[in-house]
Structures are given as structure tokens and as C-alpha cells.
Point group: C2
Chain length 346, copies 2
């Protein structure tokens, strides 16, 4: 909290002092989105022609922060003047937020594979290279920070390992250098459900089911206790459990915006993560959520110990488990603000 | 361990002293199995004609112990002279085992619903009443102990609550008075997978998939780490993870011996468990496995606190999580032997 307060008090003068051009409120902002058609040498899938959607927004010419979320996140991180629709992380990104678009430009891509057009093995390293390709295209040599959560943290670790020279600081929330084998097993089941539905014609229902299964792991047992412990409706021939209303709400929503191929390939991509932490020499903040059932704390300890750059491990506790980065607004904001402050001071 | 040793040293003289007829090795044994056609007033499904398969084996006229396992267990607990095929719990039951057939008769039933002929909501209380019906049929007024594991422990708790006057002691391993809502959510998904396969014609594959998902929860994360952490085989278009060999081995085995209806109804039955622990006034041993992801320890603490009879809570640790009752032979044998010894002394 002391660092958080310090950060609030150092703008804009302190930022300017640290060598960063700071903009008072009202400074000209920019927002652009486009697609980059390029060729990428993928780790498993060989050389491929790809189309990478990107969005860049914030203060004109300000330092760049890359922000990437989970497999269902996208290039529109936050609402702005030009692209006013809600982003997936408005709580943390925007004017006056922890990732302050008055002082930074925020860059994000749509995950390669997210449009369902690439049916091939996608390594998280490929996503890092795709981001690097967009940076090259935009003439951005160096980024102040890479803030990644969930799959975005995995990609951030890959970016730090592969493109460390152009990165100031990595902030990796709830994502590690590998997937835990038990969680991989659960995701294998999710993909097999979709494959079952695909071969049998019930692919929308199957995808909704796979998503429901995934979501069980995203939240803590305490939340399930609080929300779904009521007795089921039992008839002679059928029982309906309280949690089924929840599944029937989230499944179709997900199906409406995710193709089966995109889901299969991005889910698989999470399980392809396999990085030696020692290959990272960038200053790194790691955020571990105690209740996260998808990314065990023990894996994040191993990551923190293995990284060769200076490392800070932040442990937080949340009812929301793996979804804490979306829900624990104050805890996450404090960590981001402090880390970005260190990043500026470095 | 002291109780364990005591139990070994008190046979047969001490058992006779405690008012139990003890049989030296070589005493006449019996083994019978049959089906009982009866009518049961079921909790949700109304009055139904049922066929209940049972097996009774052990020393002639010896005290009776009811032994019931998980939803895939059955009436043949252990191999004997007459029914020599392996049982599902030979490690704990048989001549010279913790549940010693030289000094007891062991009774078990095939779960109602296990043959797939009953497509209705089955409460664990119905299973307890089915066991009581078999006891009535056999003229057995009282049983020395009910040893239940997993679903069998849930049914044992129901038996203790509903037929406590005819029960000496309950030993409940890895089963509680309710299902945890998060685990119910996982089982809802398992049942929906089967339902999806059923409507789409891929029911065998779907059942195998549901079973694979169930099994992930039965074992600990440490076991997955040890067995399945090796890197996957990655091609340009497909990846095969190590755990998939395991899934492809266990799924078809399960499908060969379980009908979709039986699976759906017995899985649902686990989630219908809803018992007030205060309704139990029988002496009870509860066995909790720290690594059990299906039955959280906190639920077993609540159970132990709520029971009105004298209660012992045994905590063990096992790599095998919920499956510890099948795998931790020495730890489980020590607990059973000591509990049965107390049961005899009572």
C-alpha cells in the first residue's frame, strides 16, 4: 500500500523526473486498431501466414505497455474515447486506472488462433513472437512492461525469455512456466468433450459443457459453497441441481463468441507451455492466488526461484481463485501500480 | 497401532470373553448369494418393485458386518472358497484380513440401480433401506458393524440414522452427510457428458469420457505429477499428452461393466445425499483422507461434530486421495482392526 500511495503522488512530476514523458489530464490521446498480415515461424506448426489483430491506445507517443489476458480475452483491453465499447479489463486499464492510459499506450493483440482459422498446434511462444511482430510493424523498439494474466502470463514469460532485450518489466498474474499435469488432464477432457460433440453433431452443446467444466476450476470451493449449496429440486425421475442454472447461463454465452476450433487450439496451447524459468533475465513480478486450482502456488514458487532477473512474488487470497485478476480489483490495482512505479524508477 | 496390536492378540479367547462366538481357523464357513425380489418405498421415486442382489460369506452363524464400497463396487467383497473370483476389497476382507471372515459373516448388496434397470432418482437412504430389507429377509436382527467407503460410507450414515437400533458401530471412510457443491458441479458435468453422448449416438465414448473426468478427482495432484508430467508428443497438427494413454485404458474398461443409466443414476445418488448428522446416535469411526478432492476434510469435521453417538475421526494422508481406501492397505487395515476391536469390546 505504501508503494501504491507513492505512485499516486509522483505524477506527473516524478514520472518526468524518472525520464518518462508524462502527460497531464487532457493530453492528446490516440487509439488505433488494425490487422497485421505476416508470416510466422511457429514452434510446432512450421511457417504460417497469419493475420494478427491488434489495438493500441493511450497518450500520444507515451511508453508502451503490453497487456494480455486469458484465452477468451482480446485486443480491446479497455474502453476509450474512440473505441468506447467495454473492454475486458476496464477495472485496471483506462484514464486514472492502475494501467493509466494518460501516461502509457496500451498494446494488445487478439490471440492467434482466436478466430478459429488456424487449426494447428499453437505454442505460447508463438503468441510472444506474434506480439513482437506487431511491435516491429509499429516501430516500437522497447516496451516498459508486459502485464499478462492467466494464458497472458504464460505468453508474457515467453516474451521475457525470447525478447527480453525489449522488455522493461514482466508482471505475470496466475500463469506459470508450465501447466500442472492434473490440470492438463482436466483440459484434455474438455477438449475431448468438444471432439465428441463435433463428431456427433452436438458441438454447440459440447462446447458449452466444456466451458462449464473449465469454469468449475476457475473459482474456489468457498464460492461454490456460498452460491450453490442449496438443496436440489428432486422429482421421482429427475433432479435439478442449483449449479445447473449457472451452467445454462454461461455455456451459451461462451458458445456465441468462441468457435470450437479456437477453443480446442487455445486450450491445447495452455498445455503446451514448457519454459525454463532460467531463460528469463527480466525483472519480474509474479502474482500467485492461494485459492487458484488451475495454477498451483508451488509452480509459481518454482518459477520465482528459477528466474534470473530480480523477482517479486506477491501472494494474494481470493474467493475467486484463478479469476482473481478479474475480480479482486483493489488487490490487483495495488500490485500493478507498485510494479509499474518500480518499472518507471528502474 | 497399539489398538491394532491389541486386536491381533485377543483372538480367539478375548473375542469369546467379549461375548462373541469365535471360531478357530478351519471352522465351517458359508457363502451364499441370491437376489431378493421386494417392494421398497423410495424417498423420491415412490413405491417400486426391486430386485436386490446380495452375498453373505464367512464363519457359520458368526456376527454380521455389512461392507459397501463406491458406486462401482458390488456384493462380492472378497474371494472365498465357494465364490473364488477376486472381490473388490480382498486386501481388507477374507481369512486373516482386517475384516476377518473366520470370525464374521460379511454381507453386501449390489447397489440398487447398478444393473441399469431402475431409471429413477435413487437416494442413498433407499440403499440403506434395501440393505435393511435383505437383513430382514435373512433373519439378521442386528449387525456388529457397517463398514462403508465412498458412496458406501454415505449409505452407512443413512443406515445408522434410519436403522441405528440394529447397528453396533459405523465405520465411514471418505464419505459424508452431504456432497460438496463444487464436486456436485463436477458430477453434473460428468452426467451431462453421458447425456450428450446418448442424444448423439456416442454414448460409449461419452461414458468413457465421464469416467476419465471422475478419476481425475479421485487421485491427488502429486500422483498426477509423478505419473504424467512428461512432455507431450507435439506434431504440427496434433498433440498427445501422456495422461491420454491412461484415459484410453480406463475408459473402455469402465464402459464394459457399467450401463449409462446405472452411471447416471448412481452418480446422481451421490449428489442426493443430504443427512442431518445429529440423526446418528451410533458409535462411529470416520476416516478422512487429507488429499481427498471429492470429500473435503471440512465436511468430515462437520460430520464428526454433528453425530450424537461417540465419534472417532481418523485422519490419514495418501497420494491416492479419494481412492485411499483401495490403496492404503496398511493404514486402512489398522483403522478397521482397531474399530472392530472396539466394536467387539462394546
Amino acid at each position: 500500500m505504501s508503494l501504491h500511495t507513492a505512485a499516486l503522488s509522483r505524477e506527473p512530476a516524478a514520472l518526468a523526473h524518472a525520464g518518462i514523458v508524462a502527460f497531464p489530464p487532457g493530453t492528446a490521446t490516440m487509439a488505433e486498431r488494425d490487422v497485421l498480415d505476416t508470416t510466422l515461424a511457429m514452434r510446432h506448426a512450421g511457417i504460417r501466414r497469419l493475420r494478427i489483430g491488434w489495438e493500441l491506445q493511450g497518450a500520444q507517443d507515451a511508453p508502451v505497455i503490453v497487456v494480455q489476458g486469458g484465452i477468451s480475452a482480446h485486443r480491446h483491453v479497455a474502453a476509450g474515447a474512440r473505441f468506447a465499447e467495454p473492454g475486458w479489463w476496464d477495472a485496471q486499464c483506462g484514464e486514472g486506472r492502475a494501467i493509466d492510459t494518460r501516461h502509457h499506450r496500451v498494446l494488445a493483440i487478439d490471440w492467434i488462433g482466436a478466430d478459429g482459422s488456424l487449426d494447428a498446434c499453437i505454442d505460447p511462444a508463438d503468441q510472444a513472437d506474434a506480439i513482437a511482430a506487431v511491435l516491429d510493424h509499429l516501430g516500437i523498439v522497447r516496451v516498459t512492461a508486459f502485464i499478462g494474466a492467466s494464458y497472458g502470463a504464460m505468453v508474457g514469460l515467453q516474451f521475457a525469455a525470447r525478447h527480453g532485450a525489449r522488455l522493461g518489466r514482466l508482471i505475470a498474474i496466475s500463469g506459470a512456466h508450465r501447466s500442472h499435469p492434473q490440470v492438463t488432464a482436466l483440459r484434455v477432457i474438455q477438449r475431448r468433450i468438444v471432439a465428441l460433440g463435433r463428431s456427433e453433431g452436438g458441438v454447440r452443446e459440447a462446447l458449452a459443457l466444456a466451458r462449464s467444466l473449465a469454469v468449475i476450476g476457475y473459482r474456489s470451493d468457498v464460492e461454490f459453497e456460498q452460491r450453490f449449496a442449496a438443496a436440489p429440486a428432486v422429482g421421482p425421475d429427475a433432479t435439478r441441481f442449483v449449479v445447473e442454472d449457472y451452467f445454462d447461463a454461461i455455456g451459451p454465452k461462451f458458445v456465441a463468441r468462441f468457435s470450437p476450433t479456437a477453443y480446442l487450439r487455445l486450450s491445447e496451447s495452455i498445455d503446451l507451455q514448457n519454459l525454463d524459468p532460467a531463460s528469463i533475465r527480466v525483472a519480474t513480478d509474479i502474482v500467485a492466488v492461494r485459492e487458484d486450482r488451475i495454477v498451483p502456488e508451488s509452480d509459481l514458487y518454482a518459477l520465482a526461484e528459477g528466474i534470473r532477473g530480480s523477482t517479486r512474488l506477491h501472494r494474494i487470497s481470493s474467493l475467486y481463485g484463478h479469476d482473481a485478476f478479474l475480480k479482486e480489483e483493489a488487490q490487483i490495482a495495488a500490485i500493478l501500480t507498485a510494479a509499474l512505479c518500480r518499472s518507471v524508477a528502474a
